[in-house]
Each structure stands twice: as structure tokens, then as C-alpha cells.
């Protein structure tokens, strides 16, 4: 493995460890950058009206549902950054390319987090409306949607990477 690839991997690892540390101490207000677009997308998709409640997150009292900091999807975003950075290692042939790919991985992971988390919360809302909202079921639904989303994102990213990579001349 090249030094630039190690650099890309180290960069991704630093982001992930720092992100985990940030997540442990983050409040709803700190996670506004993730919770706000998610709440907006969930409201549009499901016809609900989530409003911000300081220190709590986003709440829709009519459906008795809360989008709390723990539902922000930051863990998914960190896993996506890690998976995309590893998946794109072969393209990190220079320091600049490595930094660029990790930066793109962060951007793609952020967008994917909003999409997958919106889907997860929409399903959870549907389950809640049909009295299928036990904590274990909610947890399992989260794991399945997040992991399924991560596998799909990784497959798409690899596919795009292989299509856009210039052909090697022999």
C-alpha cells in the first residue's frame, strides 16, 4: 500500500474517532446540522409537522413522536465515511487525491445519512402508528435500514468509481 493510501486511511480514522467523541457529548442543538434537514425531509415525506424544541430535538405532538439526538444518524455517517474511504483506497494514488477522496466521502456520507435516516424514521413512524413500536423492534428496524443503506451506498459508490476511473494503458 502507498503512503498516500495510508494517509487517506488515517484521515478517515481520525474523522471517525473524533466524530464518535463528538457524538458522546453532543446535544440536540449541537446536532442541528443533521437533525434539521432530517426532520424537514421526514415532515415532507410523511405529512407530519416536526418542530424544534430546544434541548430535546424535533417533536410532532400530533403523532407523539420525537427525533432525538440519538436518532441523528451520526453513527451511520461515520460508518459511511469509513466504508467509502476504504472502498476508494485504490484511487488514492497521491496525497492530493487521498485528501480529495476523503472529503468527497464526507460529503456523500452526509447526503446519504439524510436520505437513509429519513427513510428509517418514516418506517418507524408507520410502525408507531400501527402499534409496532416496541423498543427492540425499533432497534432492529434501525440496524436493518442503516446496514442495508450502507451496503447499497457502498455498492453504488464502488460502481461509480469503477465507471469513472480512467482505463490504464499497458
Amino acid at each position: 500500500m502507498k503512503k498516500s493510501q495510508w494517509f487517506g486511511l488515517a484521515l478517515a480514522a481520525i474523522i471517525v474517532v473524533a466524530g464518535k467523541q463528538y457524538f458522546r457529548e453532543a446535544s440536540a442543538d449541537n446536532l442541528h446540522w443533521l437533525l434539521a434537514p432530517t426532520a424537514k425531509c421526514v415532515s415532507v415525506l410523511t405529512g407530519t409537522h416536526f418542530v424544534r424544541e430546544a434541548g430535546v430535538g424535533y417533536i410532532d405532538r400530533s403523532v407523539t413522536f420525537e427525533i432525538a439526538p440519538v436518532c441523528s444518524g451520526l453513527q451511520f455517517m461515520l460508518a459511511a465515511i469509513l466504508a467509502l474511504s476504504i472502498g476508494w483506497l485504490s484511487g488514492m494514488q497521491s496525497w492530493k487525491a487521498a485528501a480529495k477522496r476523503v472529503a468527497v466521502a464526507v460529503g456523500v456520507a452526509y447526503a446519504a445519512t439524510i436520505v437513509v435516516n429519513t427513510l428509517r424514521i418514516a418506517i418507524a413512524l408507520h410502525m408507531h402508528a400501527h402499534d409496532l413500536s416496541g423498543s427492540e423492534l425499533h432497534r432492529l428496524e434501525g440496524v436493518v435500514v442503516y446496514l442495508g443503506g450502507l451496503c447499497a451506498l457502498y455498492a453504488m459508490a464502488r460502481h461509480l468509481d469503477e465507471r469513472t476511473r480512467p482505463c490504464s494503458t499497458t
Binding site: V16, Q75, V143
Partner: protein, 84 residues
């Protein structure tokens, strides 16, 4: 099945690092709740891998069938020129 596991090893590994390995490294493994959480994470992983393997195999079989239908040749042997 092994082929699917190989293809999905990176996203699954990344997910497990974030949800289980890093919390365990931070001392969460001693909590009873963590074992419970790990059990649900692993169950979810098994469900996703199983679903992808089943649907992936079905898609591959369907695509292979479609390719066979598209191929209009009825014989694999091509007669030499001038022969019917």
C-alpha cells in the same frame, strides 16, 4: 453466499467497528445493556446479509434467464460456410 459476504465485508465491517468495536474499546463492554445492544446489531446484520444473498441470487438467476432468452441461436455449433 461467500461471494456476497466478501463483497459486503467492508460496509458490514465499518458498521460493526462504529457500533460495537469503538464503544467496547471505550469500556462499554462491561455494561449489561451493551451485550443486549450487540445481540440486536448482530441479528440485524444476519438479516441484511441473508436478504441480500437471497435477492442477489434471485436477480442473478433472472438475469441469466433473460440473457438466455435474448440469445436467438438455437445451437452452439455454427455450420461452415456454404452448408445449410
Amino acid at each position: 453466499m461467500l461471494d456476497y459476504l466478501k463483497r459486503l465485508a467492508i460496509p458490514i465491517g465499518a458498521y460493526l467497528v462504529i457500533t460495537l468495536v469503538l464503544p467496547a474499546a471505550n469500556g462499554a463492554a462491561t455494561h449489561h445493556e451493551f451485550v443486549h445492544h450487540a445481540m440486536w446489531v448482530l441479528l440485524g446484520c444476519a438479516l441484511v446479509v441473508g436478504a441480500i444473498a437471497v435477492f442477489g441470487t434471485l436477480a442473478e438467476v433472472s438475469l441469466a434467464g433473460l440473457r438466455r432468452l435474448k440469445n436467438t441461436r438455437t445451437s452452439s455449433r455454427v455450420p461452415p460456410r456454404g452448408q445449410p
